[in-house]
């Protein structure tokens, strides 16, 4: 359908799990660097979804390098908008904006805000920040793409705390009603909310079964295993007219021991000095 162009990145393009693991390690280092330019940043919930984002942007999504507004791209919406800092290095790498923008993160009037704004950053398909909205927006896009007879697929990353929002379940009900087989939700199930473990704040389990009971194809995977994620996304392509939920079991603060031990304390923070160096050493050492 699309003329072959050199910047075209096809869906499910060839990549091996080792490369995705290495890119995930690099993304974690980049997240630390980008936040270091700002007074603070969302660490632990960005670290939990590194493999998910890397697998999407380096394997799953149909995109064009350097052409973020290409109309026939697949759509990606960051429901858990507070981890936009994890997208910025990926977007710079895809040449959606100049790499020099990364150093402006957190500065007055920077385009790269803590939550993503579609009018500030090329490549953001929809703004987010208020939890619970983007699955509905993504469903609207999925229905619109089908009306336009486009084969676009729409991916929405949700936090497991975001699942508490009632609107998520309004959208979940509507997505199966409208047979939105081109809609994929990924839940970054890192098990931690601001007030404590997600299960003690407000139980969401059994999450996989809950989505299944709403008429979705529901797949549970280890969210830090790139091969498992690749397999899940491939399976999602064959759901027929069912929307797909990939429940990715992850660790909040993944890769940095003191964040894994206290994910809540590192939800929002500012690393510096020896702590920052230790964090970098641990990520580099995780081979």
């Amino acid at each position: 359908m699309n003329a072959k162009v050199s910047n075209q990145l096809e869906r499910l393009r060839e990549v091996d799990a080792m490369e995705l693991a290495e890119r995930s390690r690099q993304l974690r280092l980049d997240i630390l660097d980008v936040i270091s330019h700002a007074p603070m940043g969302h660490y632990s919930s960005s670290l939990s979804c590194a493999e998910i984002l890397v697998t999407l942007y380096h394997h799953v999504l149909r995109l064009r390098r350097g052409e973020p507004g290409w109309p026939d791209r697949d759509r990606f919406l960051l429901g858990k908008g507070h981890v936009a800092v994890a997208l910025w290095p990926l977007f710079a790498e895809l040449e959606f904006f100049p790499g020099s923008w990364l150093q402006t993160f957190g500065k007055l009037d920077s385009k790269l805000t803590d939550h993503p704004d579609m009018h500030r950053v090329p490549g953001i398909d929809f703004s987010s920040g208020s939890l619970g909205h983007n699955l509905s927006v993504g469903l609207g896009m999925a229905i619109a793409a089908r009306r336009r007879q486009k084969d676009h697929r729409v991916y929405v990353l949700l936090g497991d705390g975001e699942i508490h929002e009632g609107q998520v379940w309004e959208a979940a009900m509507a997505a199966s009603h409208y047979r939105a087989g081109n809609l994929v939700a990924i839940v970054d199930a890192n098990g931690s909310c601001a007030d404590g473990p997600t299960e003690s704040v407000m139980s969401i389990e059994p999450l996989t079964e809950r989505f299944a009971s709403f008429g979705w194809l529901s797949i549970e995977v280890d969210g830090h295993d790139p091969q498992a994620l690749m397999d899940a996304f491939a399976q999602a392509m064959m759901s027929g007219d069912k929307p797909v939920c990939i429940v990715a079991r992850t660790l909040k603060g993944k890769g940095i021991s003191f964040m894994e031990a206290s994910p809540r304390e590192w939800h929002l923070g500012a690393l510096s000095g020896e702590d920052l160096e230790q964090a970098r050493r641990e990520i580099r050492g995780a081979k």
Partner: protein
């Protein structure tokens, strides 16, 4: 007489003033002329405003079920693909329940979604205070990037469909259900950001919105018989507001009364008052609306009389304001 009725014609046959207009047919024709028009609604699509459209174009109606917030956010997603999306919401729930979706998903993003807010004000007064829709002007005019329109009657509402195409971003259209004293014989010319100057006058000005504009015209005509010359401005564009017309009315006539089927807190009267204060205009000024308290319940006509949203009471207040001049 039978007991069955159309589930959406809440007041038909029971209320003299009930809205039985041409907007539904106008919306059907609007959709017929432009196949990019889609409708999203939380289980209200079959009602009088959009029923004819839904019947003719069932595949262009996306029913959200009774999930107002999901309807609003889905509309945003549909609009990113270039569709002209209309959302029909119930006045009591659309702006209040979905204020944040309107702000975050529609206004910040500047997507061209048109919200038809039906059964505004006291239109559903019979059903209980939960169904009063009296805070929506206050809410919507506080949202940057949102255009807020309020047609005075059926003809004006019909004109709003095409007028909304002047706006690139989202538009909230507050539909009145009242048909007490229609202002227009045919769909008027609408300019976003302007008021309609529907009566000339020099002794005072009544600025009304929605039902308020109907009452303003009735009151001005009543006062004309007493020899008072009252200007009437139809505030169909609440955001942006016609500041120039307000300032001019203050300077020319020295007395301004605002009238609205909305709480006095935060509505048209508040907006006009802000303009007068900003421009340091020392005019006699009063706001006529619904009191800042939990209101009582009843059929709309009874409530209008109970709270003085009548031509006679509007005229009495204007007469008092004019008499207060030094």
């Amino acid at each position: 007489m039978g007991g069955m009725s159309d589930p959406f014609s809440f007041n038909a046959g029971a209320v003299e003033s009930s809205y039985v207009g041409n907007l539904g047919e106008a919306f059907r024709r609007f959709g017929e002329q432009d196949e990019e028009v889609l409708l999203v609604s939380p289980d209200l699509g079959a009602g009088p405003v959009t029923g004819a459209f839904v019947q003719q174009f069932p595949d262009r109606f996306i029913d959200a079920g009774i999930a107002e917030c999901n309807a609003m956010s889905m509309a945003a997603g549909l609009a990113t693909y270039g569709y002209k999306v209309f959302v029909l919401q119930m006045g009591a729930f659309g702006a209040l329940k979905c204020a944040e979706q309107i702000r975050t998903d529609l206004a910040f993003t500047q997507l061209p979604v048109r919200i038809l807010s039906a059964w505004s004000g006291l239109a559903m007064g019979f059903f209980g205070t939960s169904h009063h829709a009296l805070e929506d002007i206050a809410i919507t005019r506080a949202i940057p990037g949102l255009t807020v329109l309020a047609p005075a009657d059926d003809n004006a509402a019909t004109a709003m469909l095409a007028a909304s195409e002047q706006v690139n971003g989202p538009v909230f259209i507050r539909l009145t259900d009242a048909n007490v004293n229609p202002v227009y014989d045919e769909p008027p010319a609408i300019v976003i950001g302007r008021f309609g100057r529907v009566r000339e006058g020099s002794d005072g000005t009544i600025i009304g919105t929605g039902l308020g504009a109907q009452l303003a015209v009735g009151a001005a005509d009543l006062l004309a018989k007493e020899g008072l010359s009252i200007r009437v401005l139809d505030a169909y564009s609440l955001k942006p507001l016609d500041e120039a017309a307000i300032v001019e009315a203050g300077r020319d006539t020295g007395a301004i009364l605002t009238v609205e089927e909305h709480l006095v807190a935060g509505g048209l009267g508040s907006a006009v008052g802000e303009v007068l204060a900003r421009n340091a205009l020392a005019v006699r000024f009063a706001i006529h609306g619904l009191p800042d308290e939990t209101l009582t319940v009843g059929m709309p006509d009874e409530l209008y009389r109970h709270y003085g949203l009548t031509i006679e009471e509007t005229a009495r207040r204007m007469r008092t304001l004019v008499a207060a001049r030094g």
